[in-house]
């Protein structure tokens, strides 16, 4: 009988801070309580998958470079590649000390009914939420993507590189962004974001 218990840690220990004034400042907070599952789509299963997604989430498979949002588990489906999506969803268990993050893939499998190859990515990324009037000005220092509409707007998502780091950026609303970067370099990623804010404040 095991006497041991494992406890979970998030990459940035739940970082949550405001920089600058409420009116034109920037809020930076780690996104918690979510799971992320990669969903690879075989060519001959795409229609079936789209149907299953529609049934489960009442949303269509997004176009490449977009994400769709469903109220079911607050799920967002990010279409980063032609043959692959990321499914980001609220997962209460993911936050509990002794989570079995093993529930993420089965959860999505249930929804997609084996029409996709799934792989848990929940622990692969550090996820930061950036919001506030000045966010674009700060991101201008590191993000090569044109964040002005119509090039990029709410429901846009893409992967790029910032300061030698791989970053997925998605726009959730006016002046609201979610950024993912590989977990092992979370500290460098955080430094990159905070330096940008510092440099433009």
């Amino acid at each position: 009988m095991s006497n041991f218990k494992l406890t979970a840690q998030t990459p940035l220990n739940g970082f949550d801070q405001n920089f600058g004034s409420a009116s034109d400042g920037i809020k930076v907070s780690e996104l918690l309580g979510h799971s992320l599952v990669s969903m690879a789509m075989p060519d001959d299963q795409k229609d079936a998958l789209a149907k299953n997604i529609k049934a489960a989430y009442d949303v269509n498979l997004p176009e490449i470079g977009k994400f769709t949002a469903s109220t079911v588990d607050n799920t967002r489906i990010l279409r980063l590649q032609q043959e692959q999506c990321f499914v980001l969803f609220e997962n209460k268990a993911a936050n509990e000390a002794n989570d079995t993050s093993s529930n993420a893939v089965p959860h999505i499998r249930e929804k997609t009914k084996d029409a996709a190859y799934l792989s848990d990515q929940s622990d692969s990324w550090v996820m930061l939420k950036l919001s506030g009037k000045n966010v674009k000005t700060a991101l201008e220092r590191v993000c090569p993507i044109d964040l002005q509409p119509p090039a990029f707007n709410t429901f846009s998502v893409t992967r790029t590189a910032m300061e030698h780091l791989s970053v997925i950026i998605m726009q959730e609303g006016e002046n609201e962004y979610l950024l993912f970067s590989p977990r092992s370099s979370a500290k460098s990623f955080m430094h990159m974001i905070l330096t940008s804010i510092e440099n433009v404040s």
Binding site: P144, T158, T160, A161, S166
Partner: protein, 115 residues
Amino acid sequence: MIINHPLLGPRDASEFVYLGDACLMNRPAWVGERIEGEDANDAKTAEALQQYHDYVHLRQNNAGEHKELWYHEQGDRSWLVVTRNTITHEIYNVELAKDVALANKTARASQGGKK
């Protein structure tokens, strides 16, 4: 440089990794299993070695239009076939390599059918 990705639109070339001449997609077919002690082996092997030598080492190095492979490593992980001028760097065409590879395969198959 900017590569106009067929799915994602214009992206800075620094997001990509360059491989080289698109002929690297045309990997020679497998020579097949060679049974030890068979006379035909040597000739078969020599021919295959020559094919592979050319495939691996003799690439197009045009001054002008050049079809080449780029990998969108900091993007959607797709391999692209980019047609670019190596003197002016002008880019004429960008395609998904997978589409090109499938088309080549179909073309080869139909050619084979004619024979």
